[in-house]
């Protein structure tokens, strides 16, 4: 018999079963069922995913007999009798490598043969564990959970073999999908043990390997989707194609987040192929869903074209006159009388008055867009009181909640499958586009893919907050920093998302603020623990501009100010910037630094700083015409220090010859992936430092496309990026965001070393700087 499936459906096919992420009606239509077909259809797990376990000849005519019951010791693992090992990739991959690194954790403990492991994308289902990615914590959160899954599987396979051979389990070993009885040399493959193992009761937990026995973790493993990516296979949200699917583009108020009060769709409806116009009401929380008007058509092109023909009057906004200049003026006012005093130790004013050198500087960081290269999109199929969502969702679980709220369904009626994500950088933490797709699909009673143009994507983002900081710092005659007065005025992400916690709680390295009792509890990079007189104050700016997390949120602006100020202090004191920093770190081990539970260890920071300084030649002489700059930062549990080597021409064009980066992220899981994150993160931060700005005028974003929102290009990338990953056996921490914060200050410090000019605002292009 033949079964015709779309490419997308085939993508979810496993060897012995299909995992079709479709409504039952769509599957029934695609499958010409016959009596010879054995189908078991069940709604499995809390996600209500429809699982079809079909005979293998449905998938491949040449396959052998119908499989015996496969062995599934955990939702993440399946072992078939023919030795096929399938591991579910539980968390979406945005390019940070989770599709490879998380299954590696399972395979390591399972002792599966990695080269033969199949990977499947997992739909949202609590059996897989936490399925979000963000805050660079995917590896850290899966570290024990995924390894346990593998260890339990291995334990049962060994027990099955031992029982079969009548020997003790502890005299058997495993390697590459085979159990071996060492004394007799007998072996059994995992597949041959599957049926027997499936009858055993899984233990609640099993012993994990000692790190010294890792054979996969810590090695260089190529990305598992790479072969499909280079062939252009459909992996992404925008590649989803469903039978009968329509395309929708949503018009939104140019002055942010207003509702339509009058819609004239005459011209849009006249475009051949346009089916309907659907209004989207929005949700009370603007980070969940912003109001808009959707045009639904038979192709993306028609939808985008007709969207621009809508004539819409939007409700007025209290922020209609807002601009970057008005925000700057507001910030200047707020900085002089900031309402929140978060820390105050010693006597800052006296210390500043008596310091040998004082620097008083104001730093400004522009609004920045995420500009994920795969634009805003999602596909929804709402029918029969249920909803199927497939798209680039970084947080599938919160996506389910938002979608449920938008279309008035119970969350358990919303089924979510995250696709491979064409770039996140924080944008896909929101699920507004899933809610848009669901609202429109519900109105149409058909599958709908929502797409936005690049200009729509750039003009209706949740931007990295505009931030102005004033830092006054003083060194004494011995070259020690004795006074530190830091005041921030920023647009608060927390205020924008209607969170009741203080506005500062998203703007100062996450949620530790408010818990601060002593200076030791502050992030040690923010207020170095050994400054006797230190003050930290915060003011939120009133704004209509949507804000959200952007790769290493709040770390970017703060590291820029703090790390360039430290460099300036060192220069004033005539000291090495590295020695000055090492002074700060002190000896206090394990200072609790944030509510996320990360621990800051000054000894690890010191080691990273020393390693980078040595590898990058700090203290040595740069070649003629070149300058070096240093910066370091602690982000989400990992440590990174960098040295940038640059030259500058007469028209302020900067050549970045080399960036040397040292990272301590605990035990590296996939070394090749860690290196990729550091290389890519540095290039991202470099382009952002030089060019990224979303100017605001008349209450709206005045960027249109990559002509006005400039990204870094091939020729501008550093000639060389050297990455050193510190060897470590500690619990792994993240890498996705960690390499970014030191980049802008390291470059600014290098430019200062070379030219004496201090850069105090990002993007640097505002002051005429560009990359050569």
């Amino acid at each position: 018999m033949t079964v015709r499936l779309s490419r997308q459906q085939v993508l979810h096919a496993t060897r012995a079963g299909w995992y079709l992420f479709e409504p039952p009606a769509a599957i029934a239509a695609a499958l010409p069922l016959t009596r010879r077909t054995f189908l078991r259809v069940s709604a499995a797990g809390s996600g209500g995913l429809l699982v079809l376990v079909a005979t293998r000849d449905l998938v491949s005519a040449s396959a052998g007999a119908v499989a015996d019951a496969p062995f599934q010791p955990h939702a993440l693992i399946r072992i078939d009798v023919d030795d096929a090992v399938t591991i579910w990739a539980s968390n979406p991959d945005m390019g940070e490598g989770t599709k490879t690194s998380l299954p590696m954790l399972v395979a390591e403990e399972l002792d599966a043969d990695w080269t033969r492991v199949r990977l499947e994308n997992a739909p949202l289902d609590r059996r897989y564990g936490g399925q979000g990615v963000g805050g660079s914590d995917a590896i850290a959160s899966a570290w024990l959970h995924h390894r346990q899954a593998g260890a339990v599987g291995r334990h049962l396979l060994v027990a099955a073999a031992a029982a079969q051979w009548g020997v003790a389990a502890d005299v058997c070993s495993t390697s590459r999908g085979v159990v071996r009885h060492d004394a007799s040399g007998r072996t059994a493959t995992y597949g041959s043990l599957a049926a027997r193992a499936a009858e055993l009761t899984p233990p609640a937990s099993a012993a994990l390997k000692d790190a010294s026995r890792f054979t996969l973790i810590g090695t260089r493993v190529p990305g598992r989707d790479v072969a499909a990516i280079v062939r252009g296979l459909p992996l992404f949200g925008l590649d989803v194609r469903k039978p009968g699917m329509q395309y929708a583009a949503v018009a939104k108020s140019p002055v942010f987040a207003r509702r339509a009060v009058r819609v004239d769709a005459t011209r849009a409806m006249a475009v051949p192929g346009v089916a309907r116009v659907v209004e989207i009401a929005g949700l009370p929380n603007p980070t969940h869903l912003i109001p808009g008007v959707a045009v639904v058509a038979d192709s993306t092109w028609t939808a985008l074209k007709a969207r621009d023909l809508l004539d819409i009057e939007w409700e007025p906004s209290p922020f209609a006159d807002e601009s970057t200049a008005s925000l700057r003026a507001q910030a200047a006012e707020r900085l002089s009388a900031p309402p929140e005093v978060l820390h105050n130790s010693g006597n800052v004013d006296t210390a500043l008055a008596s310091a040998r050198h004082v620097v008083d500087a104001t730093y400004e960081c522009a609004f920045v867009a995420h500009a994920t290269l795969e634009p805003h999109n999602c596909t929804a199929d709402v029918r029969d009181g249920e909803c199927w969502i497939e798209g680039p969702l970084q947080m599938p679980a919160s996506g389910r909640q938002v979608v449920a709220a938008a279309i008035g369904l119970a969350p358990e009626k919303v089924h979510v499958m995250s696709s491979r994500i064409g770039g996140g950088f924080g944008r896909r933490l929101m699920s507004d586009y899933a809610a848009e797709a669901a609202v429109v699909s519900k109105a149409m009673g058909a599958p709908v893919q929502v797409v936005d143009s690049r200009s729509g994507d750039l003009q209706h983002d949740y931007y990295r907050p505009f931030a102005v900081q004033r830092l006054r710092a003083g060194v004494d005659a011995q070259g020690r920093v004795v006074a530190w007065d830091h005041t921030l005025a920023t647009c608060s992400r927390n205020a924008y998302r209607l969170d009741t916690r203080p506005p500062s709680s998203t703007e100062l390295y996450g949620s530790y603020v408010g818990r601060v009792k002593t200076v030791q509890e502050l992030d040690p990079d923010l207020v170095p623990t050994h400054i006797p007189n230190a003050r930290l104050r915060y003011a939120a700016l009133s704004t209509g501009v949507p804000t959200g997390a952007w790769r290493a949120p709040s770390h970017m602006a703060i590291a820029f100010a703090v790390e360039t100020m430290l460099d300036e202090m060192a220069a004033k004191a005539g000291r090495s910037p590295v020695d000055l920093r090492l002074d700060f770190l002190g000896d206090t081990a394990d200072v609790p630094s944030s509510a996320e539970g990360y621990t800051y260890d000054p000894a690890r920071m010191r080691a990273v700083i020393r390693e980078a300084a040595e590898r990058g030649g700090i203290g040595g002489r740069a070649a003629a015409g070149r300058g070096r700059g240093f910066a370091s930062h602690f982000t989400f549990g990992s440590y990174c220090a960098q040295v940038a080597e640059v030259s500058v021409d007469a028209s302020k064009r900067v050549t970045v010859h080399k960036v040397t980066a040292v990272i301590d992220c605990g035990q590296p899981v996939n070394l090749l992936g860690v290196e990729a994150q550091v290389e890519g993160g540095i290039i991202d931060a470099l382009g952002t430092a030089f060019y990224a700005e979303v100017p605001i005028a008349r209450g709206r974003a005045t960027v249109a496309n990559f002509d006005t929102y400039r990204l870094i290009r091939h020729r501008e990338a550093p000639r060389l990026v050297e990455v050193h990953v510190m060897p470590s056996r500690r619990t792994p921490t993240g890498t996705g965001e960690i390499p970014l914060p030191p980049v802008a200050p390291a470059i600014a410090n290098a430019i200062a070393a070379l030219t004496g000019t201090r850069l105090r605002q990002t993007p640097f292009s505002r002051d005429g700087w560009s990359l050569a």
Partner: protein, 159 residues
């Protein structure tokens, strides 16, 4: 709407679309070849790069009505099985991060190498400067282009 007959990856394809529809959307929506990516729609990012009669072109600004009888090659048609030297080099160097830009990077590189089998760094820079990568894979791309050039030459010798 109007009927067009295209030659895509060696196959004739009949489509019924508006004449101003860019080739990109004909490929993605009408034909179902979604390997060619949408990034900007205005020839500013290179994600949509395909070969038209062997030359790298941005399909997002190429109306289907202007295509005539030209032969279009997309990433899906570069090789049947991922064996093109550029694809092999990309896998070997583990270039992609998110992967969205990579079909365009590969198509631009394949067109470059077809013309310049041994490109200088400057030529690589010029050929690829219009292909943006938001994830910052540029340093690995540079290595992969050089590796692809080596593989191309080795293939030439083997033949």
């Amino acid at each position: 709407m109007a009927n067009f007959e295209l030659l895509v990856n060696g196959e004739r394809r009949a489509v019924d679309v508006a004449p101003d529809t860019p080739l990109l959307w004909v490929l993605r929506d009408a034909i179902g070849l979604v390997g060619t990516k949408f990034g900007c729609g205005q020839a500013l990012c290179g994600a949509c790069t395909v070969h038209v009669d062997g030359r790298a072109r941005r399909s997002c600004t190429l109306p289907v009505s202007q295509l005539g009888t030209a032969a279009v090659t997309t990433i899906e048609g570069l090789s049947r099985d991922g064996s093109h030297p550029v694809q092999r080099a990309w896998v070997e160097i583990d270039v992609p991060q998110c992967g969205w830009c990579q079909a365009g990077q590969i198509m631009s590189t394949a067109a470059l190498l077809a013309e310049r089998p041994d490109p200088t760094d400057a030529e690589i820079g010029t050929a690829l400067n219009g292909n943006l990568c938001r994830c910052g894979t540029y340093t690995r791309i540079r290595r992969a282009v050089q590796r692809a050039a080596e593989l191309t030459r080795a293939d030439g010798r083997a033949r």
